[in-house]
Structure formats: structure tokens, C-alpha cells
Amino acid sequence: MNVLTLKADIVNLPVFLRFLTQFLKERPFSLQRRKEIEIAAEEAFVNIIRYAYKFDKPGDLQLSFHETANKRVEIEFRDRGVPFDPTSMTEPDTELSISERKIGGLGVLFIRRMVDGLSYRRQGDQNILTFSILMPEGDIANTRGKTEAS
């Protein structure tokens, strides 16, 4: 399991997303699927910055990347912000007109729609949110472990 620990700051969004993209590229995900996962990951990351550490000075955000034995990848987000369980939220009404429609509420919706499994637990002072994503069949073994030009 590879773990990336970053300050919960928007300047680190590209650092995280590039790392994630690289992790996904080493596995047989399509470009479309990679982008879907990236969207969900961005929403979770941005919410931690925006809400979890709203009342605190920005803390750390710990991101883990893991391939399970049963052909899934798991991406785990850990923060020490206010307790928040996105799996228990009600979804926004996506059928309102343009003037009624409020800006917002879509981040959690996208997370739910884009991943195959979502679980939350609180452990001590940590929020632990885990994306579970099915790996498609396919063999890109020859791109694994390949190093790249500087």
C-alpha cells in the first residue's frame, strides 16, 4: 500500500490527482473510467480542504492506494477534521429549474455515482473514507514497473 501525505491545501490537488492518475494508468482502466474516478477523488479531496478543516488550521490529508486480492483498487482518505459521513447524506434534487437549483451538493453525489463502493468510518479523531473500485479485466502487465523519461 502506497501512502501519500499532503497538507490539505488546494495547491496539492494537482499533486494528488497526478499520483492517482499514474496509479490508475498502471492498471487496465479505460481513459473514461480513469476520469470518473478522478472526479470522485477531486470531490472528496476538495471537501476535506473546504469543510473538514473549516474551523481548524489546515491539517494533513493522508491518501492510500491499494490493490486488493479480489481485483479491486481502494483509495482511502484520512483526515482529522470534523466528523462527517458522506454515505449517510440525502441526495440533492436534480430536477429543479435553473432558478431554484442551488449551486452545490453535487460533490457527494458524484462520489457516489463514480465509485463502485463507498465506506466511511470514524477512528479516534480520524475520518476514514474509502473508495472501492472494480478493476476491469485486461492485461497491461507490460506497462507495469516501466520507468519514464525525465
Binding site: 488546494i10 490537488l13 494537482p14 490527482l17 473514461q32 476520469k35 470518473e36 478522478e38 472526479i39 477531486e42 470531490e43 476538495v46 436534480t94 430536477e95 429543479l96 429549474s97 435553473i98 432558478s99 437549483r101 449551486i103 452545490g104 453535487l106 460533490g107 453525489l109 458524484f110 455515482r113
Partner: protein, 111 residues
């Protein structure tokens, strides 16, 4: 993210390429609101070359759509595809903002 602008018929057509994420989207929102503040009433957003959009990008588009509506103008979307199309569908934004297959059809459509 890059925005290119052109005038066609009575419309301003904004082509957005690259990525609309939490880092880049505020720039689009600023651009949209400033064009509308200058009096533009007919806008087409051509998203053919947009590779990626998150809720931050939708937020920018919706902010523009709301603003132009207040001034009795219209904003139309063109060329949604791939994950961009999916994001508009999941959010339901594709049914509150008119979407067209091509920039041409967006320009030619009646109001």
C-alpha cells in the same frame, strides 16, 4: 484550461479546452460573469475540447447560466461528450441548460 472567444451571428461562442477542476474553474466563472456584465445576452459554451469537469466546473457554468437568465439572456451548451456529458447528465444540468450536438445547431436554434 483555455478559453477562446469568437463572435458568430448574435452569439458569443466560448470554447473551453483542457480541464475544469477546482483549481481552474474560478477563471471560467470570472470570464463568464464579466462577459455577461458587459451586456452579452447570447452565449454558447462549446465544450468539444473539454477533457475533464468536476462539480467546481459545473458551479462555474451554473453561475453563468443564472446570471444571464436574470438579464433575460440565454446560455447554451454545445458538444458534450464522454465524461463531460456524463457529469451534466448525473447532475441533471443537461435538462436545465439547453444542450446541442454542435455549436452550429446551438446558434441556429430558435429561442
Amino acid at each position: 484550461m483555455e478559453i477562446t472567444k469568437r463572435k458568430e451571428d448574435n452569439f458569443s461562442v466560448l470554447s473551453v479546452s483542457g480541464r475544469l477542476d477546482a483549481v481552474t474553474s474560478p477563471e471560467l466563472e470570472k470570464e463568464l460573469l464579466s462577459i455577461i456584465a458587459e451586456g452579452e445576452k447570447s452565449l454558447v459554451l462549446d465544450l468539444a475540447k473539454l477533457d475533464y469537469i468536476s462539480s467546481a466546473g459545473l458551479r462555474a457554468v451554473l453561475a453563468g447560466a443564472k446570471k444571464i437568465k436574470q438579464q433575460q439572456g440565454t446560455l447554451r451548451l454545445a458538444c458534450l461528450k464522454g465524461v463531460v456529458k456524463e457529469v451534466f447528465e448525473v447532475s441533471g444540468f443537461d435538462s436545465i441548460i439547453p444542450c446541442f450536438e454542435t455549436a452550429e445547431s446551438a446558434l441556429k436554434a430558435g429561442s
